[in-house]
Amino acid sequence: MELSSEDNNLTEKFLPPIEQESDVELETKVKKYLRGEGANLETLKDKKLKTQLASREKLYGKSAKTAAKIEKWLLPAEAGYLETDGLEKTWRVKQTDIANEVDLLSSRNQYDIVLPDFGPYKLDFTASGRHMIAGGRKGHLALVDMMSMNLIKEIQVKETVRDVAFLHNEQFFAAAQKKYAYIYGRDGTELHCLKERGPVARLRFLKNHFLLASVNKSGQLHYQDVTYGGMVASIRTGKGRTDVMEVNPYNGVVALGHSGGTVTMWKPTSQAPLVQMQCHPGPVSSVAFHPNGHLMATSGKERKLKIWDLRKFEEIQTIHGFHAKTLSFSQKGLLAAGTGSFVQILGDSSGSSSSHNYSRYMNHSMVKGYQIEKLMFRPYEDVIGIGHSMGWSSILIPGSGEPNFDSWVANPFETSKQRREKEVHLLLDKLPPETIMLDPSKIGAMKPSRRKEKPSRGEIEAEKEVAIEAAKSTELKKKTKGRNKPSKRTKKKKEMVENAKRTFPEQGHNNTASKKRRIGEDAAAELPASLKRFARKN
């Protein structure tokens, strides 16, 4: 399934660089499996904890090293790429040239399906890349098995189809039609009509959360849980109509591009956008996310393509003179941009994971007059699917797909039994919608400090009143003769009320002082003087 044929007499080579696994290489792999740096244990004062954590870190290191060593057996295939000699440029290589060099199986992935009647086609692939759904503007829905090139089902809904999306597997797909969105089964039966959303412009499925996200014509964003059908969130974006919508695969955040040049990012549990970015001065025409979630590509109608670092929310590259109607990142980080009848593939030439420099990698121009509607890289294949006004096409882009598939994640050769089992596993592993956040690695960490931690003044006062009332209404015990005098009783009562008041500290005075105090100091302050030296200092 991987484009990896060796040819040395021609300009392009798809070389799996089989090199001696040097220490450096192993180290980089180990780094990958270590998932970041360990904490600095020197700051710890507790010796026991320190040694225990140190031993744990050692285990992690061991684990990472073993994993790195095993990797070559588990991930045997290497991603292919185009290599040129001397003055040859990779973007001069045509699909016909590639077709001459690759094996038969791969060359079968270069084709055009001409369906002139049903207008521009939207595409979607399943996570494994095995199946594709194509939705023609004029109501043609086709489910295709990409491996055998069989047409599994084809239906004509006789309505405008604005978008199509697979649900968690190829058994279900959703189509945004003229009035409502519908969910169809694999055999083309209509399973659900999603009336609540109104006329849907774009559909995306969040496969970890089982949420079907859609934005409708009036700019409302809907999240619907497809497991039980409940509408999880319905959000008014307030930015007008949009048909630019993409899901960040890393964290499940949905990004919308608006006509004002802003890109907004949303999660279902908040009505306000997580992030708003002014990306372009003109309308945003498309958005795409790198699979690792750190990069975002946007293109505006002012003929600029920008690449953003989502960790810093900074622009890292601007590519001028290019307006992309559709953008797509491949699994290996190639960026495809399509306008008119022209597809451009940009590759990250810097090579390192920290800095990015996207430059031309390949070009492909369709037959004149074809209008590209949707580009999407096929997962686990070096193939990009192009949905256009005259059907759909598929071309080879060496080095775009992940060469090794993980059958636990997505298996292109899945049997029906495996699929069923997978479905159950997916459902068991379903994430609740609140886990969608900008930085999902923060889940399980300490709660971020809240800005407004204290109860408001009114709340405190209400509480105080309640406490005072309670103190006033307490019945005093009958005491012996001398101590049961009314004066004594009133005195006692007064005292109780005072005590109740005292539990609520005076407001306004100690606010600043207490805030300055840190947590550790707080603990120390509470202790009596004699025990202060035992207070834990971090």
């Binding site: 970041g36 740096e37 700051t43 904890l49 009647d117 309505e159 708003q276 005259m390 886990t435 956040m437």
Partner: protein
């Protein structure tokens, strides 16, 4: 010896107190005295003696007059010291050879001491040394006795414990007597034994301190040898207990083989079991066994009595049941029946039975509602009511109310068995009933037919689960067919009934309400035909073959059911089936035209709903039919379709052609980029104001602080201004610390997501003390999906590994091996434990030895 020294000095102090002159506070003096005392002087015996001499000497040399000392009565005279007396007693035994020497040395020492002492006192008190001279040049005091010495007035010596009798004094008289030598020897031995003088114990705190010091060293040493083990255990990620301890026998047989009878019973059993005779008898033949199997007379009698008792019980029970059978009381049987029913209710949980019961109940209800038998419509009841006898007599009233009760129970609906829609319908019918009671039989028929129809329609084959299996599906199909046949027959019957009864009905209705009757039959015919036409489309799919019949039936039936509705409710409907087929795109526009005019406007909503419901039933069919049809005639359809649907552009144009943007949008698009940046900035400001609100401006309460002009000029009180300033400062700080503070083009919401809060910990989990370390440790997943199998075990090993049932013994000492590294790979047993073996000590010992070897 230390105590000795101290005694002397303290005595000096006692003397001091009697003297005049500058005095230090008592406590200081004491401490000074303590300071002076040398800690390790060797000649203890000497000192003691010299001390004695000194004391005497001092008494004589004391030059200060007694009166003066009395006059200066600032201190209480110290009569005695605690540790003086025992000391002196001991002293007597000590032989003093070198009085002078000791005295001299003491004096010399004393001289030196005195000099030092005065110097120190000078330093402490700041007084001239002359003031302390008296101390050093003190003279012993001479006491003159006022009374002659007698037993009533003992000498001072005696009083002070000096000049007491010694053992020698006692010995002297018996010198030369028999046994004297012996005694002498013993005494001398005793004296030798007491050579080492027991001195006064140190003050308690000091003694304890010393003790502690000594003990600490020992304990430290003792404990330090454990340190390495403790450290190792504390730092070990996992502690193992008794790794290789065998837990004993694993099988029941093994346990049984070791069994020794202990109690009497066990012994008895064992004796029987191991009886050779019995074994032999068993082996040889059964006859001998019989011989052995003797039954004692008592046992036999017991058995016989038991049998007799049982028989008598049985007999009594029989009698009782006979008597019960004979009872003819109605109430008794009714109560009994009730009980039975109650128990039967349990059986009714079985759905089949329940259904049957429900059906019966339904029939009874219908009957009741038709006849109104229990509504006191009878002759007797009417009479009773008309004459007011029901009020008069309790019995009558009770009977009548009972009748009503029965009616209520009978006519109560059974909701549980019927589904919602049918109950709705029955509701409707009830309403209808109110209007026209005479219609009931026809209604009943209609209802029954509807029910059958519903059941026929509901027979959908589930497409998943157990029922979707092929053989199940086949069986279901068969069943369905049978049911459908039956339903057909039933429907026909209904029709017949209705034809006979409906005519009457119509006549009746005409009589009663004067409603017009429409010739509905003709109108119904047309759609039926069209439906049949449409059914032909199904022929290509064989799976639908058997469904066809049903549909036909259904449709006909539905049509028919519609007709009585028209009769009663006067609703005409025309359904554009033809239009439908021609215009397949409009799947939801299944038009139902309701003509209601003039007098028929009064029609009831329920009827309306009913008809609608019926019409809705068709929708799915028409839909699916549409699709099928479209498949067949796609080429024709699509053309017309395309023209219909989209705004008519087939050429490959960009997407904008499909959606005509609104005017405002067009303008916005045209002038996009003009002020989007400004707009964005404004928006950002808004968001910031919302998330970090600006502090409220301090406002003066009118009249507050405005008594005089001066106050007015002063403006706001300073604290208000200060507070406002603080709030402002805080806000700017907050704004600065925001993530998007430096990014002009970005707004990052810092709202706290309450729903996501449960995904964070509020406190640090136990061993961690710093947030960073904790969060870093969280970065690595430890599950088997993310780690190589070789590491997963050690990543997830629990803190303590222990076999169940093993007793954890206290830590045993092991020699430290400083070079040994803690090896996590190989589980290390913290305590070696010998397997418990009852009598076999030898084995255990051997094992222990071998372990020791391994340890070494």
């Amino acid at each position: 010896m230390v105590g000795e020294k101290r005694r002397s000095t303290s005595k000096n102090l006692a003397k001091n107190k009697k003297r005049k002159g500058p005095h230090l506070p008592n406590s200081i003096l004491k401490t000074i005295a303590n300071e002076k005392r040398p800690l390790n002087s060797d000649e203890e015996d000497d000192e003691i003696d010299s001390d004695d001499a000194n004391v005497d000497l001092y008494e004589y040399e004391e030059g200060v007059p007694e009166e003066e000392s009395r006059k200066n009565n600032r201190y209480d005279p110290v009569v005695n010291y605690d540790y003086e007396l025992p000391e002196d007693f001991e002293d007597e035994n000590v032989e003093s050879d070198d009085d002078d020497e000791g005295g001299n040395s003491d004096n010399e020492e004393g001289e030196g001491d005195v000099v030092r002492h005065t110097r120190m006192l000078q330093a402490v008190t700041g007084m001239p040394s002359a003031a302390f001279d008296g101390e050093s040049k003190r003279k012993p005091v001479l006491f003159t006795e006022a009374y002659p010495e007698s037993e009533f007035n003992p000498t001072r010596d005696v009083l002070e414990g000096k000049g007491l009798l010694t053992i020698d004094d006692f010995m002297a008289p018996i010198e030369g007597k028999p046994g004297f030598n012996d005694l002498q020897k013993r005494i001398s031995r005793m004296q030798k034994d007491t050579q080492a003088v027991v001195h006064a114990p140190l003050p308690k705190p000091e003694r304890e301190r010393l003790e502690r010091k000594a003990v600490k060293g020992l304990v430290d040493k003792e404990f330090n040898k454990w340190v390495h083990m403790v450290k190792r255990n504390r730092e070990a990620p996992t502690v193992y207990f008794n790794q290789n301890v065998s837990l004993g026998y694993s099988t029941v047989g093994a346990i049984a083989s070791e069994f020794q009878p202990r109690t009497d019973f066990e012994k008895k059993m064992a004796s029987v079991l191991n009886d050779n005779e019995l074994g032999e008898a068993h082996d040889e033949d059964g006859a001998k066994l019989l011989e052995l199997n003797e039954v004692s007379v008592e046992d036999h009698i017991k058995y016989r009595d038991h049998i007799a008792k049982m028989r008598s019980l049985l007999f009594r029970h029989e009698l009782k049941s006979k008597r019960i059978k004979k009872i003819k009381s109605k109430t008794y049987h009714r109560l009994k029946g009730k009980d039975l029913k109650k128990s039967a209710m349990g059986a009714l949980m079985d759905p089949e039975m329940a259904k049957e019961e429900a059906m019966k109940q339904e029939a009874r209800r219908v009957e009741e509602r038709m006849t109104l038998k229990h509504k006191n419509t009878g002759k007797w009841a009417k009479r009773m009511i008309s004459r007011g006898l029901n009020v008069k007599y309790d019995g009558t009233r009770a009977a009548i109310s009972e009748q009503l009760q029965i009616n209520a129970t009978l006519s109560r609906k059974m909701n549980s068995t019927n589904d919602g829609s049918s109950s709705d319908e029955s509701d409707d019918e009830e309403e209808l009933n109110d209007g026209s009671d005479q219609d009931t039989p026809s209604k009943l028929i209609a209802k029954a037919r509807e029910k059958t129809l519903k059941t026929v329609e509901d027979d959908e084959v589930p497409n998943s689960g157990l029922l979707s299996l092929p053989f199940m599906a086949r069986a279901m199909k068969k069943k369905n067919e049978e049911a459908i046949e039956e339903a057909k027959r039933a429907l026909e019957e209904y029709e017949e009934w209705e034809n006979s009864g409906g005519e009457e009905n119509s006549k009746k209705t005409a009589d009663v309400s004067g409603r017009r009757v429409f010739g509905a039959t003709a109108k119904v015919e047309a759609p039926k035909e069209s439906r049949k036409d449409s059914d032909n489309f199904y022929d290509n799919s064989d799976s639908d073959n058997d469904m066809e019949g049903i549909e036909n039936n259904d449709l006909r039936a539905v049509r028919d059911t519609a007709s009585p509705v028209r009769n009663t409710g006067a609703i005409t409907e025309t359904e554009k089936f033809d239009d439908d087929i021609e215009n397949p795109a409009s799947k939801t526009t299944f038009d139902v035209a309701l003509f209601a005019s003039g007098s028929w406007k009064k029609m009831k909503g329920c009827q309306n709903a009913e008809t609608k419901k019926k019409t809705k039933k068709h929708v799915p069919y028409s839909k699916s039919q549409d699709k099928k049809e479209s498949r067949d005639e796609e080429s024709e359809d699509s053309e017309s379709e395309a023209e219909q649907m989209v705004d008519g552009i087939l050429t490959s144009a960009s997407k904008e052609t499909y959606e005509i943007p609104s005017q405002a949008e067009l303008i916005q698009r045209a002038f996009a980029g003009d002020d989007v940046v400004d707009e964005f900035e404004k928006e950002k400001q808004e968001v910031l104001n919302q998330e970090v609100p600006e502090p409220e401006k301090p406002v003066l309460v009118p009249g507050w602080g405005q008594w005089t002009n001066i106050q007015k000029k002063r403006g706001l009180p300073s604290w208000m201004v200060r507070e406002h300033e603080d709030a402002k400062k805080k806000r700017t700080l907050d704004l600065k610390t925001r993530k998007d503070a430096r990014l002009r083009h970005v707004i990052i919401s810092e709202k706290v997501d309450k729903k996501a809060e449960k995904l964070h910990t509020t406190t640090l989990p136990f061993p961690y003390t710093s947030k960073e370390v904790f969060e870093h440790s969280m970065r690595m997943p430890i599950g088997p999906e993310f780690n190589p199998a070789t590491i997963v075990g050690s990543l997830n090993r629990p803190e303590v590994v222990k076999k169940a049932g093993v007793i954890i013994k206290p830590l045993k000492f092991e020699e430290a091996n400083p070079n040994e590294k803690v090896d996590d790979e190989h589980p290390r047993s913290n305590q070696k434990q010998n397997p418990k073996k009852g009598g076999k000590t030898g084995k255990g010992q051997r094992k222990g030895k071998s372990k020791q070897k391994t340890k070494a």
